[in-house]
């Protein structure tokens, strides 16, 4: 390892911590609302924290919460969570291509922390090779925050009586909107957005959530596959970024 490797890694790590900051603004209220609703349902504090710590997947935690009972319907909740998290399979297939130079153990560890904004930022970080330090930088900020905000919600949740009045339920949607806009210069972005929107809205209005995410997403990537033009000639290999 040369000094420049080490300083590059530090720079990537810091960049990851910086880039995830805007996400905190939307993730923290989301965590608080989850904690508050879970406590209101009568779920013990340690179990609420265990959900955030072990699942670390806000949208599916909310769905599990909605179906939770005493006793909770085991398979119904497992299936619903799988449905909500189906999109991760696509994320992992897509992002895994940029992690081929990671040791397998690190890859398997890292994927455990792949939440939506982390995936989107990681995808944007490099067209070919994702820096492990960058990924770690995002995660060491976001994961603890998710736990802390869950705990705050569970303990002091009554502070937020109605998340809708403050638009807290909208923050995440606004964040994803900005992310999508950031991807707009990608090939065929407009057609992909159009195909996705069409199917997602149709499914949302007929089958209902959460199926619109998986079906809309699949419609968009099928459109992208259909639009592929014959391959241009190979470009010379980009400089490979090592030891990230």
């Amino acid at each position: 390892m040369t000094p420049s490797d080490s300083s590059t890694r530090k720079a990537h790590f810091r960049q990851g911590m910086t880039d995830i900051l805007p996400v905190l603004v939307s993730a923290a209220p989301f965590g608080v609302v989850f904690g508050a609703l879970a406590a209101e349902k009568g779920i013990p504090f340690d179990q609420i924290l265990a959900m955030s710590g072990l699942m670390y997947a806000g949208a599916s935690q909310m769905v599990a919460l909605e179906l939770w009972g005493f006793p909770p319907p085991f398979w119904t909740i497992v299936l619903a969570v799988l449905a909500v998290n189906f999109r991760h399979i696509l994320y992992s297939a897509s992002l895994g291509r940029k992690m081929r130079n990671w040791p397998v153990s690190r890859r398997f560890f890292g994927f455990g922390f792949m939440v939506d904004p982390v995936f989107a930022l990681a995808d944007a970080q490099s067209p070919t090779h994702l820096s492990g330090s960058y990924y770690a930088g995002m995660t060491v900020v976001l994961y603890p925050l998710w736990l802390v905000s869950t705990a705050i919600g569970a303990l002091f949740g009554n502070l937020i009586r109605d998340p809708q009045v403050w638009g807290l339920d909208f923050i995440l949607a606004a964040y994803f909107t900005v992310l999508v806009m950031g991807f707009r210069s990608r090939p065929n972005a407009f057609v992909i957005i159009l195909a996705t929107s069409l199917v997602a809205v149709l499914v949302y209005l007929t089958l209902g959530p959460p199926w619109h995410v998986a079906s809309g997403g699949v419609a968009g990537i099928l459109a992208a596959a259909a639009l592929v033009k014959p391959k241009p000639k190979e470009e010379p290999d980009a400089v490979v970024e090592q030891g990230s």
């Binding site: 998290n85 991760h88 297939a93 090939p187 996705t196």
Partner: protein
Amino acid sequence: MSDNMQAYLLILALAGATYATRIGGDIVLSRFKHINPRVEAALDAVPIAVMTAIVVPMALATGIAETCAVAVTIASSFRLQTNVSILAGVLTVVVLRASGL
């Protein structure tokens, strides 16, 4: 089995299911040495397609306030920073909801 045990068993199952989706795609795809250009394009489209699918019901099928707020967020994102665009959208939704839309 105690209620507590039962709850923890479920939480572990949910964590396992979630983790499986997070490595599943990579496990399948890393078996292939060569990836077809269409598959490649499909995978490149994953972020934009899935993020759009998440947002679109909020944008188009929730209410006028939400639709306007997403529009404001999109317009802001051309010029303004991420956080400012989000804030603009959230303020829009708060004001419009308060006004009864």
